[in-house]
Amino acid sequence: MIYSSELIKGTLKTIVLKLLEDNNRMYGYEITQKVKELTFDKIQITEGALYPTLHVLEEDGLVTTELEYNGKRARKYYTLSPEGKNKTKERVSELADFMNTMKFLLDIKTQNA
């Protein structure tokens, strides 16, 4: 099952921030592959959603970027800024809290219980 884009939209920023926290320095394609790998293809981030989000994170000063040229190609690497590190913790704990609330609200029983 692949999750709907509406579900992913609200959590995309948090996913990207958390991945950068764990992997230090990443580029766009790498992020999409990593998410696919970690979620066994259940979450597939589209390019159309990823790059605008990365752009906004950069604009907000949560990530810093480095361009590495390889001939005519350039790869943009993203790293968390100190502010971004704080924000990541905030967003992850907010999402965890939200998920608990949703569980309660929708009365979801944990599957392996």
């Binding site: 580029y27 766009g28 394609y29 999409t32 589209t46 390019e47 159309g48 959603a49 790059y51 605008p52 989000t53 990365l54 752009h55 906004v56 950069e58 604009e59 907000d60 970027t65 361009l67 001939g71 005519k72 190609r73 350039a74 790869r75 943009k76």
Partner: protein, 402 residues
């Protein structure tokens, strides 16, 4: 693993930009991303072009520039909510302030002018511009954006024109003519001819256009044309000129009358008041008639007219003359006191304060022509009182002879 050549990289880059992606950072991101996919997923001797076309197709729903649009949208959305909040609160504030201002105005309470100025100012400088910015973002077609901007500019200019008019700030008349002109001559044709072609909007376009024309028509109906305003100035000037002639002949007649020694202090004060009024009138005339020193019978040919300048403006710009007015009002009080004993002879007191211009509660609408009229009336009263004193003296003299 497929190996991408420099030509292919250049081809991809130019294709991305031809598909409407203009942000350089985004171009580089997409280029690298596509290259990665091709390198990972295309076999070593695979066919580049069809694979590339299929890959890029995965990036969008309708066109590639969606990614750039989404980027812009996310960036502007950050401000969107703040702008919307400010728009709503400024709108509510402007409407409230203006309503209270109008209520205060009718009740003659202090602060009406500040409330009205604040209301119109915030409505035209914060509320309306924010509506435009937000509405323009919602529209896709350039024509619709232009219509919103043009319509709002005329609305802002109309609001400011009215504010300038009531505050007597310069440029009010220009704003008042230009703003409906933009609405009727620029906005309306674009709106009408673009809306009338579409069967869905046809009826609405005709109704709205008619409303705009009627609105502008009503606005111009209220406006005084330059010819009418000149006519009013000529009438005012002619009326003032007649008053000065009447005053002059009265002055001649009174001067020839005998003056009793008992009335000397009152007469001296009266003369002082009379001269002060002359001086005040000369200053006010020079101001209202744009520097002319005197008004003669040929005022219309020479174009020496009493304009619609206000005493409010004059006295706030000329504190020295304002002092002279205060001194004159003080003299009038003394004069009235000195004359109380003579009341039986028909001497009447002159209204002492605020007759020419109320300096304690200045009203911006007070016209110079009405101040001039008041001054002449004071002078006439001085002369009438002098005639009353002289008249009773004459009777006494006659009775003593008999």
């Amino acid at each position: 693993m497929y190996c991408i050549s420099d030509e292919q990289i250049e081809f991809i880059l130019s294709d991305i930009s031809a598909r409407g992606v203009e942000l350089e950072g985004l171009q580089l991101n997409l280029l690298d991303h596509i290259c990665c996919i091709i390198e990972q997923e295309l076999e070593e001797n695979g066919d580049f072009r069809p694979f590339y076309e299929a890959t890029i197709r995965r990036f969008y729903k309708e066109r590639l520039s969606e990614i750039e649009d989404e980027t812009h949208l996310l960036l502007t959305n950050k401000n969107y909510y703040v702008m919307k909040k400010v728009m709503i609160s400024s709108g509510v504030f402007a409407a409230t302030s203006l309503s209270f201002g109008i209520f205060f105005k009718y009740m003659h309470w202090a602060g009406a002018s500040i409330l009205i100025t604040l209301g119109i100012g915030i409505a035209s400088l914060v509320f309306l511009p924010l509506i435009v910015t937000l509405k323009v973002k919602e529209q896709r077609a350039a024509k619709d954006k232009l219509l919103i901007v043009l319509g709002s500019i005329s609305a802002i200019a109309i609001a400011l024109g009215i504010l300038f008019k009531v505050q007597h700030w310069p440029g009010a008349n220009m704003l008042g003519v230009i703003s409906p002109a933009i609405l009727a001559l620029v906005f309306l044709p674009i709106y009408f001819f673009s809306g009338i072609r579409n069967p869905e909007t046809k009826v609405n376009t005709i109704v709205s256009s008619a409303l705009i024309i009627i609105g502008c028509g009503l606005f111009f109906t209220l406006t005084i044309t330059s010819k009418t305003s000149r006519l009013m100035e000529v009438r005012n000037t002619a009326a003032y000129l007649r008053s000065t002639y009447i005053l002059k002949s009265e002055e001649q007649a009174v001067l020839s009358l005998p003056t009793p020694p008992a009335a000397a202090p009152a007469l001296a004060l009266g003369k002082q008041i009379y001269l002060s009024c002359e001086e005040l009138r000369a200053q006010l005339v020079a101001y209202a008639a744009h520097g002319a020193t005197s008004i003669g019978d040929d005022f219309e040919d020479k174009n020496v007219l009493l304009g619609d300048a206000t005493s409010y403006d004059y006295f706030s710009e000329n504190p020295k003359t304002a002092e002279l007015l205060t001194a004159m009002e003080r003299d009038v009080k003394q004069y009235n006191a000195a004359n109380t004993a003579l009341a039986t002879r028909g001497v009447k007191p002159i209204p002492a304060s605020y007759i020419v211009f109320n300096q304690e509660e200045p009203k911006p609408l007070d016209k110079i022509s009405s101040s001039l009229n008041d001054l002449i009336q004071i002078q006439m009263m001085v002369l009438q009182n002098q005639r009353a004193i002289a008249g009773s003296t004459k009777e006494k003299m006659l009775s003593s002879i008999q």
